[in-house]
Amino acid sequence: MRKYFILLIILNSIIIAQQDSIDFRSPENIKKFGDYLFCQGDYLRAVEEYKSVQNILRNDTVNFKMMLCYSNLGLYETSNDLYKETSWVSPFHNDIELLKIKNKLLEMPRSIQVFYDVPMDSVFSIGISKLNMTSRLYGEDIRISKSQFLSPFDEKENKAAASLYDLKTNPPYKSPALAGIMSAIIPGTGKMYSGEWADGITSFIVTGLMAFLAYDNFHAGHNTRGWIFTTLGTFFYGGNVYGSIAAAQIFNAKINFDIQDGIKLFLDHNNYFLPDYDFCK
């Protein structure tokens, strides 16, 4: 009885084994696997799967997902090259245009002004206006009023956009010349003006100490030591004036960095005004 039972199981396993009729490498299944990888965030492998069926399926969603994959991988130029000419019949043509601008901005942050003759959905045309406006902040000169700049942004984005505009148009730069002059008059004050309080106090103490030691040694008749401290004091004084100018320049570099970083954060936070896609729901 047991022998028959085992024989039956073996026989069934052979007959109802995985059949050849299920084609795991069919374009649909490859696409499904690509979708799975895409949702897992494995964009490199997802794009490979999509690439293998791209020409067979001729699917707009697949093509757009490939664009998203390349963009997420940091291959912005490759992403944009997928749609050199936008097909206005594609259901994704709005998304493609927005993603193209995002890729351009990520590739090289600069002022990009894009306008279309073809009517676009209002959500996307507003998104493009927002990107146009935000990218203006990357340029040297914004050349538009604050109200004009803020016009496309909604209430939620307005505050951050306004503060970025203010920072760009009125950056709180420090004057290197003024910092130098201040430190020339009272050592260390130029550094304090540039926000380096502790360095400023140190400069004041060191230069003052050298001046005192020089004076005290000359006063006590120790001329050699007096001259040594005078020379050292002169260099510390010169270094303090020089350092104050450099500190103001570094402060200004920090402001420029903060502006660039702020724009990037603002765009990242709003996902470059791209809509939320439900590809993985």
Partner: protein, 152 residues
């Protein structure tokens, strides 16, 4: 074939005893140095007389090494260290500017407050402060936020 377990056990025991760690190896003295390696042991005090300016710059650096750096030990909180900063600054600028940059760096080295939030760090914890930021050329300044860790 019948295995003689007694024999196998005996051979195993014999091999273990014969090839075990010898006393000599086991307790051999290890020459491990716990000294912290100092840069000044690798200083290059040689001169190249091709360029007069180079000789003056190298002399300045060597004077600093001899009188301050080697005496003070590896206590400079910055990278490049003050002497390397002097040499790098000399490569970028002239003697006068190098001196001013160096004295400014020396003053900043003496500042014991608030350095933590002003400089990025290199992997070993030193503050990263490259001379290029102090040449007074705005285009050469590379601002790196203090929270960053820099590859030297």
């Amino acid at each position: 074939m019948r295995i003689d377990f007694k024999l196998v056990f005996f051979v195993l025991l014999f091999s273990i005893t014969a090839f075990c760690q010898t006393e000599q190896l086991k307790w051999q003295k290890a020459d491990i140095s716990y000294e912290k390696e100092n840069n000044f042991r690798h200083r290059d005090y040689s001169f190249q007389f091709n360029d007069a300016g180079e000789v003056v710059k190298k002399s300045l650096a060597m004077t600093y090494w001899f009188f301050i750096s080697d005496v003070d030990g590896d206590n400079c909180p910055f990278r490049p260290s003050c002497s390397s900063f002097l040499i790098d600054a000399a490569k970028e600028t002239n003697i006068l500017q190098t001196s001013l940059m160096f004295f400014d760096r020396f003053t900043r080295d003496m500042n014991v407050f608030k350095r933590k939030n002003h400089y990025p760090r290199v992997k070993d914890g030193h503050y990263y402060d490259p001379p290029l930021n102090y040449t007074l050329s705005e285009t050469k300044i590379q601002y790196i936020p203090a929270s960053s860790v820099v590859k030297e």
